[in-house]
Symmetry: C2
Subunit: 541 residues, 2 copies
Amino acid sequence: MTQFINRKEDIVQEAIDGLIATSGGRLVRLDGYPHIRVVMRAGWDRSRVALVSGGGSGHEPAHAGFVGEGMLTAAVCGDVFASPSVDAVLAGIMAVTGEAGCLLIVKNYTGDRLNYGLAAERARAFGLKVEMVIVDDDIALPDLPQARGVAGTLFVHKIAGALAEQGAPLHEVAAAAARVVTGTHSIGMSLDTCTVPGAPREERIAPGKAELGLGIHGEAGVEQVAYTDARSAMHMVAEKLATFTAPDVRHVALLNNLGGASVLEMAVLAHELVQSPLAGRLSHVVGPAAMMTSLDMRGFSVSLFPADAADLAALHRAVPLAAWPGMAEIAPVGTVELPDGLRPIRPLASDHGATRAFLTQCCEILIAAETDLNALDAKTGDGDTGSTLASAARALIAAMDRLPLSDHTQLYRAIGQELSETMGGSSGVLLAIFFAAAGDAASSGQSMGEALEAGLARMQEIGGARPGDRTMIDALHPALAALPQGLAAAAQAAREGADKTAAMERARAGRAAYINIEQLRGHVDPGAEAVARLFEALSDR
Amino acid sequence: MTQFINRKEDIVQEAIDGLIATSGGRLVRLDGYPHIRVVMRAGWDRSRVALVSGGGSGHEPAHAGFVGEGMLTAAVCGDVFASPSVDAVLAGIMAVTGEAGCLLIVKNYTGDRLNYGLAAERARAFGLKVEMVIVDDDIALPDLPQARGVAGTLFVHKIAGALAEQGAPLHEVAAAAARVVTGTHSIGMSLDTCTVPGAPREERIAPGKAELGLGIHGEAGVEQVAYTDARSAMHMVAEKLATFTAPDVRHVALLNNLGGASVLEMAVLAHELVQSPLAGRLSHVVGPAAMMTSLDMRGFSVSLFPADAADLAALHRAVPLAAWPGMAEIAPVGTVELPDGLRPIRPLASDHGATRAFLTQCCEILIAAETDLNALDAKTGDGDTGSTLASAARALIAAMDRLPLSDHTQLYRAIGQELSETMGGSSGVLLAIFFAAAGDAASSGQSMGEALEAGLARMQEIGGARPGDRTMIDALHPALAALPQGLAAAAQAAREGADKTAAMERARAGRAAYINIEQLRGHVDPGAEAVARLFEALSDR
């Protein structure tokens, strides 16, 4: 699969420069390209303990995205999935470490341990105070004495970061970090592998399978399991984690997107997490968000940490980093009652002979035109314009006894309401909007002509169609414009408008917009035809 | 491709409940499942103008993720890529609208226009003040009179949201929203389609191709273009946008992840954006972040808006929403000079006959063992342990004249430095760490035995191997423990330790950890053997 990258060799430094350029001046980097790729806080004064992390790239936003006030002081970035060199780590340490010293936060991979470890030795030889914690939160491989470091690392960054920002001494920051490492347990699950730049994607996971207990470098999971849905997936993850948590202790859960799950899926997984067997052991959640990714892997991980009050305060502390999603207390879903009276109160039914006759006639005209309009629509659409209008007309006749026929102001709205409930599709909604807006205008004292014009204007605004777009408006617009001159003039204008649609070579609204010119040419738009027939019939009355 | 969902019909409401449960009590929803899915601010008092947006789902975090202080008051969520119903929108409007009124922010799709439009009419019939803006920022289809609404919608949410939060009246909020719509232009590009839940993924985009001018509902782009790299991709996008921007006006760029691009790729794209032909017209950037997605589409979009000072203030205003990444001023990448003296100053060379002879002898012992150790390693590893150690020994002999032979404290560190520069792989780094730590201990006044023990301890800490893990430590650890009783005792202890490794059925560190028991059984670990031979030869001297 193609990716949004340039040369493979340049990915890491281009990504770093992209991050820094869009950091609003919060970040700088060491001038050591291409070998030394160290992102650090701008204006760092070395007065407090420095936190340096990093490792292989491909886990973005980790780690450079977490450099900033209240979290990391610097991140040393290796190639994708490869540890940075000793020299790069040493440069990072020396660039940010003052008398207060420095804590290295290192994920438990041999390369990272060794390179950070030797860099720490060298830095100590320069007289710098350097401590190091190894994060090994992954529970996927219970038999392996050296568990991997995965997304639980974020807990260390945040809690140690808050302490360091507040001026705690190195031994205290390091002890807190070590305590967080001990308390943190993580496991991940994935439905797909990741795309390593420059390498073909490995198709290792068959449809219907998921990998449980994977790492963040594209390595295979500990077991392939049958995948059915998000609920059972989270259940498996929760069961693995449950053995590492005491039932009576509340934990913070960090729900991490491994990169390729959609935001929608992550929200579903968040729902499953708070419904899972773990739910009773959870008090807060960080995420869901992509924090420690494995490039574009469609997977997630859950990390748990039993935070005490001080830890919670540290996790809550706001940081100016878009990559840190913040922590929230898990709460039941609050609901608010539906507003009363979503259905408008129907105006009192009333009779009015002339209005009843007029409306009935209009409906009958449309019912009579059903077959013709369907035939016309069949040439340029799906052949149902006649039926749609006739059905609505029949429904309106059936509703006649409950309409406020003697209150013309209310009548428009009532007709709109009936139409919106009985007519399907866009045309039903548009006619409902037409009558609702006309009713608004009428109720504010405008004349019938003005009210109908107001309805037309609103219908155009909402529907987006204008005269010339090959819709019913091509007949309705000239008809209403001519109405002051009488029904006959309106009918003539409607007919002329409808006939013109046969020459319109492009439909610009409605479904006919997808039909090509040859199919349209010579055929009158069925909606415009309906309007013309209505005015003609009324005029002939 | 499988996704982290449960039943297709439940996705939207499960995702909403996941969002609300992890919102820390900031959000609630209307009690109208399954038909009415409205997310709203908790504790909203209707004292100010309400902002209601929404539309089809599948664009997460839009829109529910932007409900909160300073942005939306409520979001009405339809099915994936389908407009919510009139009733749902009306319920949303009525739930949040007080005397100050309500602004509907609607993306320009027929279904949304109609359903929000009719809901607005109905709400007005209830006497509510409701205004509506239609966002049509997409420039992909210049011939289409009804441009689509895409990620530029976020500018409207944020600027109108800031005004409403500050108590601006409806007409002012609506006018600002309309002005933002007019000024905003967006276009997207994708390398892959999205996976609509329950539908097979359409494989429409061939490798080496990209779609330019796509929408956010999985619809095909306006053109398929040849795709080479991120730079040319951003160039094409920038050229399309350039025709809609004046060269002398500075714009805010919103860099949106359509859902499936990795965070790493988005950072590369950010780098390309600020290097693109548009760069001179940009002052600020929002993102990169997934704000208006098309499920898991591997694509991005850029939206531009010429913000004035008031707009910038509104965009800058902090909101408690993880989905809003904030806005940053675009700045050149700041660099900091590399720290001085990353290379430790070499201690002054000095001679010392006995030390030179001892060191040389050690080296010669290892050189003599090269073939044997390689043969041993070939049985359980890749057969190079002997060569690795012999090369390092030869290099150390060659370096003898520049070592501080008469200053034993400095000598440890100098040996560590030489080894780290000449030996490849983990073992080189580990030995360097061993000697560096021993040097530290020696310089703080500890005896040779104590210094070597300190080196061993640090090597174990960093490398993670312990006695019994089938490494050189199995010989080195007992040897150093016995050293106070003399070299002969140390040699015997080393030999016993090395021989024991042949019975260890599981290697727990180093490359041999990946070898199965049958291959290991009966073979002494080559690293342990090297240590044993070294002590035996020294003892026989």
